[in-house]
Subunit: 211 residues, 2 copies
């Protein structure tokens, strides 16, 4: 998986508590079959061993479909399962340290809500940015949403791929038509859908149509 070839169109962050399937493995498989282009495994409140085991399972699926596999926060688990990369937020290990531990070849994503965070992330070695939360959501309630103006400002300032996150769904996605973003990061819009595959398919179709 070459970093420069990553297609960020529909980037799924997993959430066990929201998934409509019995297992995370099913949810991820359906999401990929629907067209999700990146899978980020996000696990909270489980042991490192359980996180590792889940990561091994998801890695197998993503490898089968040749989809990049990103681990949230835990660089050690990403290294242990040889994931394609790590995503860190502003409360995780600093991007600079993560880049040093990961080496130059793995994908590093960083969450940025403000222009200064975005610039610093890229300076510190980020390959792509997750910008948001764009809208108030149930999964992340802590911060004031990023405005469209701020998003455009970040887009102008950095060349790295940008995915928007936070309340991205079929009702909100068209607002990003002319923002120059590279993809949509979704949680519930896909993983909580009754038909995960169909939900992913429709979002991918519409994003590509929007150009």
């Amino acid at each position: 998986m070459k970093k420069c070839d990553v297609d960020y169109t529909l980037y799924l962050c997993t959430d066990r508590d929201l998934m409509s399937t019995d297992t995370l493995e099913e949810a991820v498989t359906q999401a990929i079959e629907g067209g999700c282009t990146v899978i980020q495994l996000r696990e909270k409140d489980c042991s490192s061993l359980d996180f590792y085991r889940t990561a091994l399972n998801i890695r197998e699926i993503t490898r089968k479909y040749h989809i990049p596999f990103i681990i949230n926060d835990r660089v050690d688990i990403a290294l242990a399962v040889d994931a394609d990369g790590v995503h860190v937020g502003q409360s995780d290990l600093p991007a600079k340290e993560v880049r040093r531990i990961l080496g130059p070849d793995k994908i590093l994503g960083v969450s940025a809500a403000r222009l200064n965070e975005a610039k610093k992330a890229v300076e510190d070695g980020a390959d792509y940015l997750g910008v948001g939360a764009m809208f108030p959501t149930g999964t992340k309630t802590d911060a004031r949403p990023v405005t469209m103006e701020e998003l455009k400002e970040i887009r102008r300032a950095v060349k790295a791929p940008i995915v928007v996150i936070g309340g991205i769904n079929l009702n909100t996605m068209d607002q990003f038509k002319d923002t120059g973003i590279d993809g949509l990061a979704v949680v519930s819009a896909v993983i909580a859908a009754d038909d995960i595959k169909e939900a992913a398919k429709e979002m991918v179709r519409r994003f590509r149509e929007n150009g």
Copy 2:
């Protein structure tokens, strides 16, 4: 810090919720001044960034006193702060993976409650074992205590240094007199003491006296 030179006599595992001082930095300093020979930083329910920042502070103290500094569970944080090693339990990343990520020179400690766990840990690259819980404790309530017979069996089976853990204090420590262990791992017996330095001093004195 050469791995083979580590003195395991009094091995402190930190616990913010139990410490008698205002800050963890004070607690660790007093513990080292009292004679603690290893410091393990254990943080739960905090962000990776907070864990990392605390680890940087504790690393500075342990370096000043030339005391080995071990991080509990989080291999990535150990790498980020260049700690001397990592300690993993049976619900953390498998020892074999941790050894691979850490490289050969860092200290790897593994918790083992049974003979098979102890043997496997050493096979997988453990430099020392934390055997316990030896007694029921407030900090770890999940497992049946290790019996003295099991401890002796582990001691006979493995050459790696062994520290006992779980309910180790001034009242219980003399029971390990003739077991051939290398040290005592403590949490509350030191960090919750009114006088941390004095508590550590007394345990070290008595352990050395016991031969």
